[in-house]
Amino acid sequence: MNETSGCPVSHTDYTVERPLFQTYELLNAEREQGPFLINDSGRRPFWMITEYGHVLEALQMPDVFSNEVISALTPEHTVDLLPQYLDPPEHTAMRRVLNRWFAPAVVRRLEPLVLSRCVELIEELRPRGGCDLVNDFAIRFPTDLFLATLNLPLSDGNAFLHHVEIVFKGFAGRELDQVATSTEWIRDYFDRAIAEREHAPRDTQVDFISRLLVSELDGAPIPRDDIITICYTAMLAGLDTTRSALGFIFHHLAGDTELRHRLTASPELWPRAVEEFIRLYPLVFMDGRLVTRDIDFHGLHLHKGDIVWLGLASANHDPKKFADPRSFDIGREDLNHHLAFGAGPHRCMGMHLARHEMIIALTEWHKRIPDYELATADQLYERGAQLSIDRLPLRWEV
């Protein structure tokens, strides 16, 4: 990286915890400085691509922007992830095996379980007159659904959570020694689950691991280590994101009584509302990529080996794409164009499950607890690297 093309320089360290919403403020201010910036906050500098049109285009160019790097903040692999670290055609083959487990058809099959578990959790909280939405609800619900989706025992949820939290600190480059221990715990768990199924195979129509054990990639079985990595990745991808999204959504709704009443009265609006919330509050605020060859990308001279930051959150707030981008508007025509789930071959595999979980959670919650407010005047914080509200105390009348 020996040319800077006169780009503005960003020194912002996006791995650090900040007061709630400050990350979006910084990202938006940087996009206003220009479509491309060079960021020197970490061990390796990276190019920040900030505008919607460029970000979408780059996501659709996997031959130039490789997934050998998936985070501009931690370009070295702190944990193995599959299929994230693959490029087409290997990636395409693995996604073909995995997609059907996360397709809308499967989501529909799980609906009765999702609904009953959601209602159970809400009914447990309702008489209390308050809760920490993030830790008492928003993480428990997706954890159970993740386990259900993979046909694993729901009773294993609590043990998982502890280790998942630690691994996420590792994404921000922290507590790396503990990350290794927790990663090992999680991988051992899946290793045992695989051993059980090798010993006594289960129905490959409903049991994820059993299906992977009989699936083939290019005529060969999927290596056992890769099956472990796939399960581990699905868990990391599914638990934290849904928890975080619900945190941001409930924070918004707690502060907007009129909107809350409108949605409670017209629950058919929840799907559009969820989509707009996802646009407004993207949690995975960037995708990292490794440049595979020298290229002039809209005037930015990139060299083989450079790292780029594809600004998903910045794109979602780009006024060239979304009118009045910082406001919540379920009537916007291009509602579905947001990049919160990414785009291109690596678009989020769990997106259908995530949407469904959130729509059900919000619908059922507001049927039972339509009015609530923030129960603290303290400053709230968001984790860096991948946004998440640390806690969200709510209270309501019982």
Binding site: A103, P104, A343, G344, H352
Partner: protein, 69 residues
């Protein structure tokens, strides 16, 4: 006047926004892709509005509606 709706196989990655936006017109397969992926279909006059919804819903710009005449 007729119209043809097509889904570009190389661009479609299975976001599912098209069949969610136009459920009467489009449906999903076992992998979550629209069944029209890599194919085209004739659009009748009373399906035009749904077809336009589907085109507008795609984040990948994979769907096109070509009008003849």
């Amino acid at each position: 006047m007729g119209a043809v709706l097509s889904v570009d196989e190389s661009r479609c990655t299975g976001h599912g926004r098209c069949y969610s936006a136009a459920p009467k017109l489009l449906s999903d397969d076992d992998e979550g892709f629209v069944t029209l992926r890599g194919h085209s279909m004739e659009i009748a006059g009373d399906q035009l509005a749904d077809a336009e919804e589907a085109v507008a819903a795609c984040p990948e710009r994979a769907i096109t509606l070509r009008r003849d005449g």
